[in-house]
């Protein structure tokens, strides 16, 4: 350890000697997954301070009835920014940080599959966060709640720019999250150490792998919702405004189709942390590994099918409600399996009450309550009473704070020694734990009762009804305990970073690969890896007398290791399919009933058909180009590539011509719902064609550059894949927008 006891000295210590002179630049320009992981966490922590202050202001305002500390608008800003910031700028970045740091180490990889994409993802977080907070300097932050229900979030009711900042910022963050999700999936698929089959993945890595699928499926749905809202707000679109035929309920469907999986996107990493830490400090492997792993798959699938349980009071009808009651109560089963297995892991173990273990125990019990109140919300009639009350506020904070924040704190106490080479203080850690536990339960336990007493959420003040005053007071006092815990935690971080005890490689006697290297690990993680034959390689290594049974290699899927770039593009295409899926569904929904003004019939099908043929033909030309590349015929390859670009260009020109004609006839985005949906769907397809064209031109430029005069052009395959996808989307769009009206 170096003797420098300043914070910059310590930060510099995490770098290589060559980088220390330019340590700021080294951190800014890094593509190392470990540093990116730390950056994610530090950025998340910074926003945690902001969102925490907002929470305190909320609790101060609610401390006594009829309080006038904050005005209504200020209060409404505070809870909107608190919720948005905590979810998108605290929970997600901090968890992505832990995932980023631990996942490659745990699977024995040298780095993430796409280190530069990883750097893009992390820097989009402060970009999005600053955009969001810039609204404070513009006309004021959004005051619409974190789910921005329409029509309140539409221009007539929120005419200032706060909601625009909100939507654009979440779009930026959403794109960053998708890029991270793609990276996690491809990393697990392609970067695993030899012997690390999918079935041998430790539970943490397995759950992060599953979670990444949820990220790439759910976030594009949010992105689609956001662009639709922005089109409404900035281009006078009509998606969600009731006059003019739009549907406010549609916003809720789309938002929660993202929003509920989002809850699991931040909960599954917390499950993953618990699944990692509880066994280590029970000195036993997890009880029923396969069942915990499988329950995660079930949760991922079910979480995509339960969104309308957020909408039991919107009036969808009992039939629809019942479907979502069924799907939602079902999710309790795989979640219960997790809770039982974590608990059973401790049975027969030798429990070690370290700070990480305490946080995980707290998370287990608090999430138990949060999960059970979740079941009560899944039962529609109970939700009819408790929804939008403080009972709901208590429920989701039991999940977000009781489970997720506790798991994060446990995870940081657990992996900090690996990240810094130093231990955090067990003494301070226990103080943090108890202050946090007392504070959390004081704050939120009583809110269940407040909700049942009738207190609605998001009210800036309340009348002095029997019991309301003292219950809110208790809640506010709890918030101060949590503040004290947070300050103490940050202090412990800084203190330990400078003068924590040296950690050694494996301070907890843990069993997964991240502990098989130095703390902090060298730039490319490992000098040598132990043999991997089970899920706990270091246990096998340390206990040759009683190693874990070998996990047999289970065939092609188990050892599946696709080519990196193709895997990246295919995962990207899956996420894009979700985005277009929403736009296409919206088009079908809004054009199912006839409406006044122009519709699909007025479009010039034949002209567009000709341009479409050009686009479809370009799929053929790029295929020919790929064949030429494989056979080494560079001239042909370039010629076919040029043909592809030309055909794509003709298509875009055709689309431009069509738009121009429509504009000439007064058909603009805001004219009617057909125009709104038409321009949105074809416009986003056009944007993707343009992106594809740019990619093709870059490939062409590379093909002409000196370095690639001969030999293969690896970029062509993935770009061609993407180009085919854009064409396939057009098959759907053309059929629905142009052909469907013909047969109607």
């Amino acid at each position: 350890m170096n003797g420098d006891t300043t914070i910059t000295g310590t930060i510099a210590h995490l770098l290589t000697p060559a980088e220390r002179r330019h340590w700021r630049l080294a951190w800014l320009s890094t593509v190392d997954h470990k540093r990116i992981g730390i950056l994610y966490m530090v950025i998340g922590l910074a926003f945690f301070v902001i969102a925490g202050i907002e929470a305190l202001l909320i609790r101060l305002q609610l401390m006594v009835p009829n309080n006038t500390l904050l005005g209504p608008d200020t209060y409404n800003w505070m809870f909107t920014m608190h919720g948005t910031t905590m979810i998108f700028l605290v929970a997600m970045p901090v968890l992505f940080g832990i995932m980023n740091y631990v996942l490659p180490l745990q699977i024995g990889a040298r780095d993430m599959a796409f280190p530069r994409l990883n750097a893009l993802g992390v820097w989009l977080v402060p970009f999005g966060g600053i955009l969001l907070h810039f609204s404070f300097l513009a006309s004021g932050p959004p005051a619409v709640g974190w789910f921005a229900y329409t029509p309140l979030s539409e221009t007539p009711y929120s005419s200032q720019s706060g909601v625009d900042y909100w939507a654009i910022s979440l779009l930026v963050l959403g794109i960053g999250s998708v890029s991270a999700g793609i990276n996690f999936i491809v990393t697990v698929l392609t970067q695993r150490a030899p012997g690390m089959t999918l079935r041998r993945l430790p539970l943490f890595s397995w759950m992060i792998f599953m979670n990444a699928f949820l990220v790439i499926l759910a976030l594009p749905i949010l992105n689609a919702a956001l662009v639709m809202l922005l089109i409404d707000r900035l281009l006078d679109g009509r998606f969600f405004l009731p006059f003019g035929g739009g549907s406010p309920i549609m916003w809720q469907h789309i938002f929660w189709a993202f929003g509920h999986p989002e809850v699991y996107i931040v909960a599954i990493p917390a499950f993953a942390i618990l699944s990692e830490i509880i066994p280590v400090f029970s000195r036993k492997p997890i009880f029923g590994h396969e069942f915990v792993a499988a329950s995660t798959v079930v949760i991922v699938i079910l979480s995509l099918l339960v969104w309308a349980h957020h909408m039991f009071t919107v009036g969808l009808g009992h039939t629809v409600d019942l479907f979502f009651v069924a799907a939602s109560v079902l999710i309790a089963v795989p979640t219960g399996v997790k809770l039982f297995n974590w608990s059973a892991t401790m049975v027969g173990g030798r429990v070690r009450f370290t700070t990480p273990m305490l946080f995980c125990l707290g998370a287990l019990l608090q999430f138990l309550l949060g999960g059970l109140t979740g079941v009560s919300h899944a039962m529609a009639p109970l939700d009819w009473q408790t929804k939008n009350s403080y009972y709901l506020v208590a429920h989701f904070h039991n999940v977000f704070v009781g489970l997720i924040v506790f798991a994060i704190l446990g995870g940081i106490y657990y992996w900090f020694p690996k990240m810094s080479g130093r231990m955090m203080s067990e003494r301070i850690g226990k103080w943090v734990f108890w202050l946090m536990t007392i504070g959390f339960n004081l704050t939120f336990m009583i809110q269940h009762v407040l909700g049942l007493a009738g207190m609605p959420r998001r009210t800036y003040t309340y009348p002095d009804l029997p019991g309301w005053g003292w219950m809110n007071m208790v809640s506010t006092i709890g918030a101060f305990f949590m503040t004290a815990a947070s300050i103490l935690f940050v202090w412990d971080l800084v203190r330990s970073l400078i003068r924590g005890k040296p950690a050694g490689d494996n301070p907890w006697n843990a069993w997964t690969l991240e502990w098989a290297t130095t703390s902090p690990p060298p730039h490319e993680n490992f000098d040598a890896l132990p043999p991997i034959r089970s899920r706990r390689p270091l246990w096998d290594y340390a206990n040759p007398d009683r190693p874990d049974p070998v996990v047999p290699v289970g065939g092609a899927i188990d050892t599946f290791r696709p080519e990196k770039n193709a895997a990246g593009v295919i995962t990207f295409i899956i996420s894009e399919a979700g985005f277009f899926g929403v736009l296409i569904l919206a088009y079908l929904f809004y054009n199912a009933t006839p409406q006044s003004g122009p519709g699909g019939r007025e479009l010039d099908v034949w002209k567009t058909a000709i341009f479409s043929v050009c686009l479809f033909a370009s799929s053929f030309t790029i295929w020919r180009s790929e064949i030429a590349e494989r056979t080494g015929n560079h001239g042909k390859m370039k010629a076919w590539l040029v043909a592809t670009i030309l055909l794509g260009g003709i298509f875009i020109a055709g689309q431009g011509l069509e738009y121009w004609t429509l504009f000439q006839h007064g058909v603009t985005v805001g004219l009617n719902l057909f125009a709104t949906t038409f321009f949105t769907l074809t416009g986003f397809h056009g944007l993707h064609v343009c992106a594809g064209l740019i990619a093709l031109m870059i490939v062409l430029g590379v093909a002409f550059s000196r370095a690639f005069k001969r030999g293969p052009l690896p970029a062509l395959g993935p770009v061609a894949l993407y180009w085919h996808f854009v064409d396939v989307v057009w098959v759907f769009v053309f059929s629905i927008v142009y052909l469907w009206p013909l047969i109607q």
Partner: protein, 322 residues
Amino acid sequence: MHMQLWSATLLIADVVKVFNPQSPQARAIFDLAIVAIVVMGIIFAVVVGIVAYALLRFPRWREGERDPEQGAGNKKIEIVWTAIPLLIVTVLFVLSARTMGISDPPPPPNPDIVVTGHQWWWEARYLKSGATVANEIHIPVGKALALRLDAADVLHEFWVPELGRKMTTVPGHPNHIWIQADKPGTYLGFCSEFCGTQHAWMHVLVVAEPQEEFQKWEQAQLVAAASPTGGNAQKGLALFQQMSCVNCHAIKGTSATAQVGPDLTHFASRKKIGAGIVDNTPSNLRRWLRDPQEVKVGVKMPNFKFTDEQVSDLADYMETLK
């Protein structure tokens, strides 16, 4: 009787309104809640029991000691704790479905009252009689009335905890609920869907009274306002009709017929001003007229900068609107 015993044993009926159901619809939900609480309580106890057993029954970890037996799970146990919860949620699903039917029966073709959420007040129109009121809904005791819920601007949500389910009011998507109270009384309700600046003060009072009293009240609501003869009140009426008041408010029997803000024909008979923010007292009324924004920031009624005399005349007039 049985249910009242339940409530009494909870000793919190006065505070915890959801556990103090005052209608068959609310009671059905309450019954389900009790089942849920018992089931959840048992599950909670079982998991806490397993954790406590694990922590208390087995020795703690000691430095340097050999790690315990490395068990890896048990398929039978896994099946049991998958199957039993599956059974439990199936039962909860069936019970939920049953309760949905009881607590939220299908609506009749024609509602009794149309309730419309506005930023930030409630309008209620009695379709048969034609009475129009604001922020205070009277119902006859023991009779279920059908409500149609509409919204004039953004989403709102109608929720009277003691009387049953909440329901969002969605512009362009009418919803329906039933409302009923078994005992006479005044039940406080809220807007529970965030609807902008003054979401906090969008209360509604549901007043349940015996049939005859309700009929008397409804008849009284139909009577046009009498024009005051002489005094400040007459000046107040004149002022009301000259100033912008008539652009938003209606008073039956005068030239004011606008439907933008609350109907004021029987303003003085209401208990609250500003959808619950202050009591309807002479001094509060004067405060409101002097500057509504001072009483309820952001309310759609602007400050008309009336002189003290104008405030006094208007208030005198409005106090005649019994």
